[in-house]
Amino acid sequence: MLFELREVGLDRAGRAVLDSFSAGIPEGSTAIVGPSGAGKSTLLRLLNRLADPDRGEIDYRGRPLDTYEPLALRQEVALVPQLPALLEGTVESNLRYAAELAGEPLAVEETLARAGLAPDFADRDVTRLSVGEQQRAMLARALAQRPAVLLLDEPTSALDHAARDRIEAALAELRREQEISIVLVSHDPEQARRLGDQVLEMP
């Protein structure tokens, strides 16, 4: 098992966002679906320790998640948030920042290609990208760290069909490479079936 969650609960502002949630997430590609407010985004943030649960336990590769050093864990288990949030500068400077943090060599063109971006995006200022292009730049930035697991929070929710198809094509390609496990949150059951080896439903 990649992740094992047992009776996980988390409160925000006195309300349980997640309550007694148990599930196993295997290697490969897993899509998590559920109604809005089910705690899907929160679940992803727990998996790379952007937040810690108030109750219950999470294991990553058989070891309690809270025994992993959070900064190193986040480079191994990369999260791409729902809305793009790049740093000021060019696409390449964003990739470089991420690669240097992880101590990984950076092959700019190859990384852009894996996220479905043409090589000429490297020099583009991030403020001049469409939301779909920013989202793919976020994906490229995560890939620049050569993570073992990719957590994707509704990666296409803010996009039109054409932009969604380009992201999905990039993800399908990553799936075929089989070097990386993907945990994807989606509100769209069709997309979950297209991209997941297995689909996990949240109540």
Binding site: R12, A13, N48, R49, L50, A51, D52, P70, L71, A72, L73, R74, Q75, A78, L79, V80, P81, L83, A85, L86, L87, E88, Y97, A98, L101, A102, M138, R141, A142, Q145
Partner: protein
């Protein structure tokens, strides 16, 4: 600089005509500030009179410890006042208190150590008041900006944390902007000093009959001292306060759990 000037009470009373003018304008244009103007005027009379007697006492006793005690009280009240401007920063009082104390102690210590001023109440009380007052404004502005920016930049900061950046790295652009806004007002007013406004100390010395050369030199010293003081206070306040937005595991605290106080 042993000039002296005597101001009669009727002169002060006569200047209240301008306060009446301000209140009249407010009433006429319905700016709704009459009450504030009256309160402000009354407070200025009471507070400055009390401080005047306190300073006279401190000058008469001529004890360095009394000066230190007075400056410590200023630091305390400065931190309490600045805290209200920094309402979005969790637990801002500690960083502000340390920032003001460090800014006051280091700049005053330096000007005394360099032999610019003698360590006597006559210098330390007024200069200390200016140093701490400006440090308070700078750190309050810096933390006010920090609180706003940490809210606005939440998504970007968390996305940077998700790359395995430390809290400090993720907050760096925000901290930089906060520090800048704390320092910029004094940098700008130093640029335009003498052109757009005459600083108070220089005006006071000229009115008191000092030579323009002395007045200008003293004013320059004070401006540079204040530059040092606002940089230190804005820096210390932001560097201590940004940490309060993060947990030890480099997680962004939820705004509702990071209740402002």
């Amino acid at each position: 600089m042993s000039t002296s000037i005597h101001v009669e009470l009727w002169q002060v009373a006569a200047s209240l005509v301008l306060v009446a003018l301000a209140a009249a304008i407010s009433r006429w244009q319905r700016a709704d500030l009459e009450r504030d103007i009256v309160v402000a005027t009354a407070r200025s009379i009471v507070q400055l009179t009390l401080v005047g007697y306190a300073i006279k006492l401190i000058f008469d006793v001529d004890s360095i410890w009394l000066v230190v005690a007075l400056l410590a009280v200023m630091v305390l009240f400065g931190a309490i006042t600045a805290r209200h401007r920094a309402a979005k920063v969790p637990r801002s009082f500690g960083p502000l208190l340390i920032a003001l104390a460090l800014a006051g102690a280091s700049t005053l210590g330096l000007v005394v150590a360099l032999g610019i001023f003698d360590p006597t109440p006559r210098y330390l009380v007024p200069v200390g008041g200016m140093v701490i007052g400006n440090a308070m404004t700078a750190s309050a502005v810096a933390l006010n900006r920090l609180g706003d920016e940490m809210g606005d930049a939440r998504a970007r900061i968390e996305a940077t944390l998700a790359l395995g950046a430390t809290a400090r790295e993720a907050a760096a652009p925000t901290v930089r902007r906060a520090l800048r806004s704390g320092m910029i007002a004094l940098v700008d007013s130093t640029k335009t000093t003498g052109l757009i406004f005459f600083p108070g100390t220089m005006v006071g010395m000229l009115l008191a009959g000092a030579s323009p050369t002395d007045a200008v030199r003293l004013q320059l010293i004070l401006l540079y001292t204040l530059l040092g003081s606002v940089s230190i206070s804005a820096l210390v306040a932001t560097l201590l306060a940004y940490r309060h937005f993060f947990t030890p595991a480099a997680q962004l605290r939820e705004p509702e759990t990071a209740s402002p106080r």
